[in-house]
Structure formats: C-alpha cells, structure tokens
Symmetry: D2
Subunit: 349 residues, 4 copies
C-alpha cells in the first residue's frame, strides 16, 4: 500500500500518517520527494485498511499493490485445480462441455435434449429448475419437479447435472440433485448465497456478473473458498456494455487472464455471452482457442418455443456441428475433448 501525500502536506500530517501505520502493526516507509512525499506501507499490511487513511489531513490518495484475493490466486496455488467428478475432470487437459436447455420445461423436453447432447458428446447436462427472471410475470422455473426430471435424465443418460441455486435455503435441496451447483450472474455478489455454497460438499460454478470485474469475480470465489469449499469453477458469460447488437459483451479476454491470475478452472458460456445463436458456434471456437477449460452451451429441441432464452439456443443438429468444430480447434491448441463415460455417473454422497 502506498499513501500519497498532497503537494503541500505538512511534517505533522506526514507524522500522523506514519504513526497510524505503526499503530496498525505495519511498517511505514516515508519517501521525501522534491514535489511530494509518499509513505509506503509494508510488513503485516493485511490489517491496514486503506480507507482509514483517505481522509487524514494531507493525504491525497492511496494505491494498493497486492491483489485482494488470496486463496483464489495463482500465487497461492501455482498448479491448476482439477475438479474430479465420476469419469470427468474439469480443469485438466481435456475439455468438458455442459449443454442443455436454459430451463427445464417438461419431462419430454429435457429427456429429448439430454439424449441429443449426450449423442453429440456433451459431458454435463445443464437445465434450470429455479430461474431468475427480471419480470415477476415470467416463467420462474419448475422448481422441485424440475430437479426430479434432471435426476431422471442423469440416470437415463449417464450425464452429470449442473443447475442453478438462487437462495441460501435451497442449497441443501439442490445439492441433493446436482453434481455441480451453479451461481448465476445476478448472484455473483449475493454473499448470503456464497456463504451457503461454501459450506456444502458440491463443486460450485460461479458465473461472472454482468457488472462484475474480474477482480470482483475472484473475490466472490474467495468467499466460497474461504468457507471451506475448494471446488470452484469460474465462468465467463458476458458483461454489460454500451453495445446493443449482442445481449452482453462476451469478454473472452477473461479466459486467459483468469487462468493466469487464478488456479481455478474457467468455463466459457457463449450462449449467454452473446445472446445470439447465430454467433454461438464461432464464439465457442474462440473460447476454446483462448484457453477455456470447457464450454457451457444452451441447446433446445425447439428454440422458437423455448420459455426462456430461445434466441440464444442451438438446435441439436447445430450443437452436434459445434462439437465437431471445437474438437478440431481443441487439437490445434494441444487439448482434446474429454471422452464420455459409458456408465451412469455415481453421485458422491
């Protein structure tokens, strides 16, 4: 931490800053320049809250020099985290593909989709039973019934399940049905929820909020890790910008950067990231080329009738084509698609 003093700060003001740094148990290093003085703070700086200096007389500003996330940082954990499910690994050399509809809408819709994505080579089935919707009048998901349908698809097709959990209360119930808990983009900074998923034994996929910086995403991951759950997957799904031709601005730069800053696996979601099915395949290829550890893709047997997110869903035939294309790109970057296990995964209790 560096405390920059004003051009005309007095010796007494500088002395007061130095004294407060010492009180906080850290070591102040004043540097007297021609124009102004700065005080560098070293040693046990974690207890020193920069904000307590901001309004001291003579202080101009504070600049930080360390990343605020620790457990999530690559520095603290140089090797990649690999999350193991039965028969599938997330974060290793092989890529995983999560696919399925935005929402579970009916038994037949989900089973048909599960069948199709399994055939095409997907590893994990997505499908929302609880849906965050900006309007209270929109379809809010099938709830428990949706979870039961997901469980049936799991049994039938041997696919792992990822599904969203929206409230702390629902965490235990959803964790009974899901192999991976998903935290949606509107809940990236829902700290009550992050606390709750930090205490369960299920991997968690944390989506970047449409308003979250990469640093905030990593800080939110830190909440889950600090709670004791080390199996966290990061997911880039688009941020909000001024551009209106895409629903969000799918920020693929986050893929190589998060991999560099953190040891956690990174999944790219071009369906939400772009909001347009007609560029999903191109951006899925780009995600793999950028170094993502896997993809999340929305697939619907009949996008035109989807109750949510139809405009960004692929038909099964297009999804199979996407799988063929990303297989080639994966090889071009010395990776491969994970194989699909033949048998039904067993859920770890």
């Amino acid at each position: 931490m560096i405390i920059v003093m004003k051009v005309n700060s007095t010796a007494a003001e500088i002395g007061a800053v130095i004294a407060r740094v010492q009180e906080a148990g850290a070591v102040p290093h004043p540097i007297y320049g021609v124009e102004r003085t700065v005080v560098a703070v070293v040693g046990e700086t974690r207890a020193v809250d920069p904000k307590t200096f901001v309004q001291m007389p003579g202080v101009e500003k504070i600049t930080s020099i360390s990343a605020p996330f620790k457990l999530a940082s690559r520095e603290s954990h140089p090797d990649d985290t690999v999350i193991r499910l039965n028969g599938v690994q997330i974060g290793g050399k092989e890529l995983v593909v999560m696919a399925g509809p935005c929402s579970v809408e009916s038994r037949s819709q989900l089973l048909e989709t599960a069948h199709a994505v399994k055939e095409a080579g997907a590893h994990i089935l997505r499908g929302g039973a609880f849906k965050p919707r900006s309007s209270p009048y929109s379809f809010q998901g099938m709830g428990l019934k949706g979870l039961e349908i997901l469980a049936e698809a799991r049994e039938t097709y041997g696919l792992h399940i990822i599904t969203e959990v929206m409230t702390p209360q629902a965490v235990p119930m959803v964790a009974e049905y899901a192999d991976i808990l998903q935290i949606g983009a509107r809940n990236t900074q829902n700290y009550g929820l992050l606390h709750a998923v930090g205490r369960v034994q299920r991997p968690v996929m944390l989506k970047r909020g449409m308003m979250s910086s990469m640093e905030e995403l990593l800080m939110s991951a830190e909440y889950i890790l600090a709670g004791g759950n080390y199996r966290v997957i990061l997911c880039e799904r688009g941020i909000r910008t001024f551009e209106k031709y895409t629903r969000n601005t799918f920020d693929l730069n986050a893929v190589p950067l998060l991999k560099q800053l953190s040891h956690l696996p990174v999944i790219a979601d071009p369906s939400h990231g772009t909001g347009r099915w007609d560029i999903v395949t191109a951006m899925a290829r780009a995600g793999v080329a950028a170094g993502a550890d896997g993809l999340m893709i929305e697939v619907h047997p009949n996008p035109a009738e989807a109750l949510s997110d139809g405009p960004q869903s692929l038909k099964p035939r297009r999804f199979a084509d996407l799988m063929r294309q990303i297989k080639r790109v994966a090889e071009a970057v010395d990776r491969s698609l994970s194989t699909v296990p033949d048998v039904a995964p067993e859920m770890v209790p």
Copy 2:
C-alpha cells in the same frame, strides 16, 4: 409488439407467425410493405412471449411497445405514492433526509452520529448492521448487536431507522428493528430477497444496482409490489461506467425520469453515487434541484477511521452545512424540508 419479417420472407412464413399469434389469444395485424412485412400484435398481448417468435423462419426481429412494469408504472397509478411513517411522509411535497454512518461500528459511534444528524434536521437514521463487502476478509457488520444499537438510537433521538437486509431469512428479524428495509445495490436483482420483502409490512427502499437500467429497477420494484407490499421507495445511488474519478457515476437523470415513469418516491444518494465526500454537498443540492423526494447521506463522526466508506462520509459539521444549503434549493423548487417531530416515533407493529 411488432414482429418484423425478413425482406425475403415467404407467405407461408408470415402465415405461421399469424397463426401463432392467434393461438396465443392475441390479434395479429399484418402490414405488407414494399420491402418487407411486419405483423403488429394487439389485444391480449401479455400472454404472448416475444421470444417464441424470434427463431421462427422468416422473422427478423421483435420490437416491444409497452413498458414491462405495470404496478410500478405512473400509468397504472397517476398520483404520487406517499409513504407515511409516524410524523414523516416520503413522496409528498416535503423532503426527507436519511443520514448516518455506512456501518454501525459501536454504540458510541452510532449514538454520537444520531445526535448530530438529528440536530442538523435529519428525519431518518441510516446505519448498516449487515454489510455486503466484496472481500470475505473485510468487516461484515455487527449483525444483531448492530440492530439493537439502532433501536436504542431510535428511542433516544426519535429517529426512524433504515437498515439493509441481505438474505430472505433475515427479513423478519430486521423488520422487527427497522422502520424501512433497505435492499442494497448488489441485491437489486436478488429475487429471493425481493420475494421475501414483498410479504412483510414494512416500507422497502430499493437501491438501483450499479449496472441496473432504470427499467430493471422498476421491474425489481414490481416484484415487491406484486408480492403485496405497496410501500416501495426507489433510490438512485450511482451506476458503473468507464469514468474513474468518481466511484460510481451518480445518474441524476434517473430522478426526473423515474418520477415520470412511476408513482413511487425517489431518493438520491450522492454519498454512494459519487464516492467522494468533497462533491457530496454539490450533488445533494443537484439531487434536490432535479426533483428528488429526499436524500440519503453518509455521516460519520470521524470518517478517517470509518470501517467502511470513509472516503464518502461527511463530518457532522459539513452535514449541517449541507442541510442549510439544500433547504435553500428546496425552496427554489417550491418544496421544503419535512419538519422533525419532537417525539420518538412509534413503530407500527
């Protein structure tokens, strides 16, 4: 809703669109242009989900023509909503001022602040007992103990209390202590929480998320209204943009616009909106001039030692000066500050 067909769409494609509109119970109006055809949808359009048309063959895009919020809209409720607490009204001709520290840090800190803001003419005491923080290692608030301190300040100084609630589970507890429940900017689209506060008998102040559009803010208000709680207050507190000299971009345009779109009271929060104490007073004046129904201002007896948000907090002396300044601006726009009742407010059970 207007369904715009592609330039080369066929009669069969247009026919299919028309048929689906009819199935949904609405009335299709095809308009055959020189270059392309559009289908206007009228009648019972609420059951017609635009998304179901997007991927139909021949469809180019859908444009909506109605605001998606109903109960929150000015059209549905032409008169201003006025929320009555004991001795204070929010949303009428008189302005209310909510002031206090970001966080309740100690009994003495809160009581000292409460005394100061009451003296200066504030009507409602703010103070966080539960604090959303981006780092799990930062101070998270005093919790229940903080609520008890707020209750004591309430008794002692006759100030109403506004404080944040962060999880659905905590709603009943916080509602026991608070006259107004605050939903923070990170929870504007936390639907589980919106549902929960929609079912209690306490006014709710809903802050605009840092990346919520005005429309999304009104949709989130709609969740609370649709839950049966009609006492909702909107609060502009800054949005996230590229500008870095201010912590957020305090979007005062939302004040006159929300007043026009909705009947709900609108509060301006220049402390969070700007993140800089040195422009809070100027922007508080601007908020009143723009037509806000009140202000929320952070005040701390010693901002340099605040555990959170010190850089944007005013000292009591500066706050008193702010109150004098906004009084004059209020009069210049034909409004006035609400008087401060002498007696302790009685909490409605």
Copy 3:
C-alpha cells in the same frame, strides 16, 4: 511514480530498474518490504515514461501519483479563469446561458429562435452550420450560408455566437463568424483540430466526448492551452453507458469535480446530456445547483420539424420557463444570471 516489483523479483532485477530510473535523470527510492519491493521515483519525473518499465524483468506494475495535466490544473492556476466577451463573462459569479437550435436550418428558423431566446434572457446564441452526423445521408448543415445567417442574428439581436468547427481547415473561416468556437463531443480527441484551435484568438468550448474520462477531457484542454490559447471552456454533455432511457448519461458529477481539478469554466448541456426534452428543465436546475458556470440549451421553434435533435429541443415557451426556474436556483446557491447587454456585441478582431 511507483514501480511495484514482483514477489519473487531478484536483486539484479531491482538493480536494473534503479539504474534505469537514474539514467532518466530521476531519483529512485527502493523500499524493501517483507513480501515485495517497490521503487518510488521522485525528482525530475516528467522525463520518465512509466511504460519503459512495464516489461522489465521482475516488474509487476507501475502506479502514477500525479495528474498528467498541468496548465489546465487548479494547482497551476488557483484562481478561476474568467473569459470576457463584450458584455458577458464566463466563469465568474454570474451564469451565462447559451441557447438556440441544434442546426441552423433556415434564416427564418434561426432569427425566430434568436429573438425568442434573447427575450427569455439568454446571452449567447448556439446553432450548428457544420454538423457531425453518424449517417452520411443525414443533413450535414448549411455550411458557410449558416455562418452568414448566424452573423445576421448576431447583429440583429446583440447575441454572441457559438458554433461548431469540425476540421482544421475550417478554423479560420468559422473564427471569422463565431465569438466562441465549439469542439464537439466526437472531436474531443481530434488532435489535429485541437492544435488548430490552440493557435487562434477565439475562446473555445471543448465538449466532453461520450467516451472521454474527465482526465482525458482535461488532457485535451491541455492541448489547446499548450498551443497558446488560454480561453478554454469545458462542457459536460453526457457520456455513453448501458442505460438506454436517456440518450446519454448526463454526468453532472463532472461539474463540481472539474471545477475542483481545474480553473477553467464549466458549462452543463442537459439537452445533449439527456436527449429528452421532458427532463431538460429538471437537469438544467440540477446543473446550476451542482455549480455549473452556465448552461447550453437547445431551443427550436418547432421541435417536431427539426432536422436534427428534435427530441431534445425545447419550444421557446418552455425555454422561458426554464430561465425563470434556474434564476431561482442560481440565487439559492448565491449566484445570479448574467444581465443581457442592450447593445450588439462588438467582435474583437
């Protein structure tokens, strides 16, 4: 400037950084912390380009501690700059109002508007003769003919003229007709143009680009000041954000902040800032309350037929009402509207 070294940087790497700082003529101050080392750079730092350090081995990042603008800064010029035209001052205690149509469309349209805004108390007539339009097929302005019409209005009504100049070549011609040259928001970083207006003897109003930070705006002002033209006026006119209910997000925070950072006058333009006539008056009041030195307002005798910017233009009757309202707000913040001189202004050659 502070050079932050990596956690595991070597003594040799630190030595190389120190040596390069010395080569550049500045004084390095290494501070050896428990976890990492930082090198503070003081003395003649202006010659030290931070970028030359970024890729040196062992360097993590560079943080700057001084504002990059000098001539525009309040520190370099503590008193307010006041720009004197015949009979009107910009930047003093009295506020000026610039009003008129977006574009000069015809002699009668301009003269009618000039008459109306003069009657209502405006001091300076705005009107574009050269118009930047996003489409090559839109009306591009009347050009020289427009300038001649402005000159006639100037003579007839005794109003000063402000009008936009778009290319370096056109600067001498426009400077013959205009009392103030306007640099539009798309040209805030058009350096060829900034150079050109830095060499003429006319005040320049520099609009903040929709993508310009306040710092960039001040840097662009620095270009004009460094060219030798000290009569620069800053103008806030809205930035681009994700919010779509307003055409731009009128960033009034810039008003008190620019006044604090710089000695130059600051004008607020709520017409472009919001893009909606129905909130222009409210935001004009807010601009005055925030501390602006004046306003720029679009007025059109018949907004529904305006060739550009109709949606944000006020009718003369509404403009007169705006003038009455801001007069009251100005007094509430201890300022007043400038009086309107009776005689035609004489142009300084």
Copy 4:
C-alpha cells in the same frame, strides 16, 4: 418505421401523424389496437426522418426496422469483398497478418522489426508516423521522416505498409507512402477525415472507436464507401468498459457479427484490444477461431524501451511463436495463412 401512439392519443393526433407520413411520400398503415394505435410506415421510407415525429402530439415513440447502413451491408452485397494488393488479398480464404511497432521510432528500430516480422511470415508492416496521444507532452511520431523509413522497409523487405493518417490535409501525403491508410480509434467518427479518405485510391482500414457500437462503425464505413472508395477494411480493437484488468475489452463478438452484417473484411487487433502482451497470443488464436480475416499485432524489438504501447508489444521471438500457433488454428477452421510473396510489392499509382 413504426410510430407508436400514446394510450390516450386522439383520432386527430393519429390523423396528423398519418398526414405527415403521406406528405413525406411514404405510406402510413395505422393499426388500431385494444390499448393503443401504432402507425407503420412503408414504401419510400428513406426520406422520412423518424425524429420529425417524436414530438408530435400523441406520439409515444418511434422504432426503426431497417439497418441504417446500405452500401456496407451484406444485404446490398452478398459476396465477401476481397481487397487485392500486389501478392496479398484481404478478405479471402487466406488470412493476412499486419505486424510491427506502434510507432516508427528510428530507422534501425523499424528495419529490425520489419526483418523479424517478415521472417516470421507477416504480410504487411504496421508503424505509426503520426501518433494520436492523449497528452500533448508525449511523443507524437516522427512524421514525414517516419513515412520515409516505412518506404525504405517496404523496398527492402517486400512488405506492404499500413500507417495511420490523422488529418484530412495529410491524406495525400500519407497515401503516397502507404499501401493501406489506417483510421485510428479516436477518429472513427471524424467525418472530415472519413470524407477525405473516401476520395483517394487507397484501401482504408477503419478501426472501431473505443465507444463505437458496431452499427456506428458500419455507418462510418458507409461514409467512405459513399465517397467512392469501396476498399474498406473493418478492425475490431477493443471497446471501453468498466473492466480494468485489460486496457480495453477486446470485443471478439464483433468478428462473426460484422462478417454477417457486412461484406467487408474484418481484422482483429488483440494488441490494442487487450493492452497486455501476456494474453495477445491467446486472443490472436481466438480471433482466428472466431473468423477474422487477419490480425494486426504490435511487435517491438525491445518493448521495455518502446516510446508507446510497450506493455502490449510482443518481442520478435514471441511473435514468431504466435504465427506458428495461429497457423494451426487457421487450419482447424478451414483457412490458411496467406503465403508471403518473395518480391517487393509494387505500389499501384
């Protein structure tokens, strides 16, 4: 164009709208709904300016249904535009790579870089002789001397030259030396400059502004095309968002979308797009996978000493590695790198 009337608009108001549509030579189609009326405008709509309707009594809003760009649109020109230079094509199946330093800093720096990028397989040499810089005190480029050095590199290494032109006056001079004129991101909407390059016989690469929407980029391309210069190349180079870990947010979604909306070639510039050399290679791979027709990459023999943009420049060795990597990705998407001609290109007069 669809004119949406207010809920309570009167028959007279609707009649006036219909009459004005007719006056403008287009055909009005009123649709009378249960709740409100809309007027669809068909026929010769190009002469109908939507803005003239906005303030008519009873009108709520206008929605547009056609893209505003014509010559740039894929609809107007279904086949890809391929731009032919001697020995290299831009926009065909083969990819081109433009590489070189941000600025020409010296003869030796440029020739060394030219040699290195030629060796590695680049086709076109970039290097700025005129540099737009936010500070008037920063290095502004070598000017004409820089152009002469570029010309020498062209002769010596047989590379085509791309370099930026910043003012209309400089267009003829720069066009004498450059095979491709570059319009920089700050000048995307500098219409004087767009006019000037629309009248020369040189291909133009138009960079997307950091706050230009894709639509605005295409409208700016339209200016050049409408001027008679059909050889326009689009370039995605990052937009400005709230994210601060990258200098800009490199918006790769623009690549497949611009290819879909327009027939013009699209180049991706990950160097400016990200501002970080450490993710340039990953994002270059992603750009190719997304469908770009080529890349622009900053290469500097010694980035740590670059006078501009050092942090995003690759060393020649890393650039050679990038070329090897993108070759593999290109093949995975059924494309290939263009071969490098052996002989010096001849400039078309």
